[in-house]
Symmetry: C2
Subunit: 278 residues, 2 copies
């Protein structure tokens, strides 16, 4: 039990830009990728879109919009404007969704509740544009250790509450790294299935020990996450789309050649598939 | 709004053992402490208990029992036996409660659900002894970033589910560091109040950035946790007991003299009290 292998281009960031990564994936039979906006900007949006079309690539998501909270009204407006541009970029690439990492506490604030309201307001402000061009927004709940500085949406249920509030055009990206620990995960995934709002499934692994809060994610199989079990829940909830490998690994995978990283992703993903079949 | 200041002796671990820390606290008018078992063992349980009695110290908790999951039946039994000894040590010190850090995934397991069942079984096995001598067990939900290696009870609601299951003699220790991010925190604290099971309230702060998953906790005021707001919720839930400062800080507070650490705790705690009054 496993979906098509997709590569989030953060995974090969250490050695490859957009074009090299797209080539590298295609050479190994991988035709689904998820780029980051800076990688697209470096090659140029038009050129990135041309590569996607001419090679028949599937873009499983564009990373990322979000980062809504700001200390000032003008700061919040700037974030909304930037998110509208991100929607256009995702549309130009034909992406399945725009991934939202919603942002944490602005400035020196200690008010998580206010930050969460800013997130709601930000999504509300960008949603009409997203709907008008048919670009789904995928809220990605981030691990609670990022609540202060990256995302104050920290559980799948919290993200689903937002989906229920907004309705059409808003779903979730389920990244195992962020949600694997949650005692409510099985019921939350089932709920997401009933709401028909799973837009993406990201995989990697949780290393023990984890040496850096942000940049020490593991390759599938090197950590403790029950990847096959979570995939099973996600498929039972009706999502059979790609499994997108997203690994931030400053001291390991980002130091290795893109070829090695991709070959390892392919091997480990095949292992997961065989686990799922037993 | 703030409770009596108590010092968890992990906070002064860098420079002081049990006797020095007890002296240091008493000299500054602090008469509530929470020692760790290794600190008690180093001075000897009988001597520690003598100091507590002769100085009229309040022991707000003994740290710690728990660590139930193990790969083998004999390993799990050894943990239960050790927890029974911890209950006796807590009783000898006249502690308010024995704090339980329940343990994470055993060995190379990826089965969080099984680990959580081992925790339930472990508490069930030690509870008759705890009840027989009247020692409350305080389950401490730990931050989800410790799910693999320290505690697979990761939200206050999850801990309260265990309290509801076990009933008399089992409560919770609410450490802000572990729960501050939780969107369900207000409702969970209110639930804990209705269940009358808040046994301890630990404070420190979440630093941005956090440089180490375990040993980079901040002093109150140096981070982003809304300490006054959380205390208010806890008092509204009926708990007016001590605020126990528990800081693991390898590269900062553990390198400073115990006197400096205590003076800073006192000052920051006074700041919190004045915030609570405004």
């Amino acid at each position: 039990m496993a979906g098509e292998l997709a590569i989030n281009l953060a995974t090969t960031r250490g050695s490859w830009g957009f074009a090299e990564a797209a080539d590298g994936c295609l050479q190994r039979g991988i035709s689904a990728i998820a780029p980051w906006r800076d990688q697209v900007a470096a090659v140029g949006l038009a050129e990135a879109a041309r590569i996607v079309r001419s090679e028949g690539l599937r873009v499983t998501g564009l990373c990322r919009g979000g980062m809504f909270p700001a200390e000032t009204e003008s700061g919040r407006q700037a974030a909304i404007d930037d998110n509208r541009r991100a929607i256009d970029e995702a549309a130009a690439l034909g992406a399945d969704c725009l991934v939202l990492v919603v942002g944490g506490l602005p400035g020196s604030s200690r008010d998580l509740s206010a930050a969460r309201t800013m997130v709601e307001n930000g999504i509300a402000a960008m949603l009409p544009h997203a709907r008008s061009i048919g670009m789904p927004l995928a809220i990605e709940p981030l691990h609670p250790m990022y609540a202060a500085d990256r995302a104050c949406v920290n559980t799948l249920d919290q993200a689903l509450d937002l989906c229920a509030y907004f309705g059409e055009g808003v779903g979730v990206a389920i990244d195992v790294y962020h949600v694997w620990w949650d005692p409510k995960l099985p019921t939350a995934i089932a709920r997401a299935g009933r709401m028909n709002c799973i837009l993406a499934h990201h995989i990697c692994d949780w290393l023990v020990p984890t040496r850096d809060l942000l940049l020490d994610r593991g390759m599938m199989g090197d950590g403790v996450i029950d990847l096959a079990g979570i995939r099973q829940m996600i498929e039972a909830a009706g999502y059979t789309g790609p499994e997108e490998v997203e690994i931030f690994s400053r001291d390991n995978w980002w130091r290795q050649p893109g070829e090695t990283v991709l070959a390892t992703c392919i091997e480990r993903h095949a292992n997961l598939q065989s686990q799922g079949r037993t």
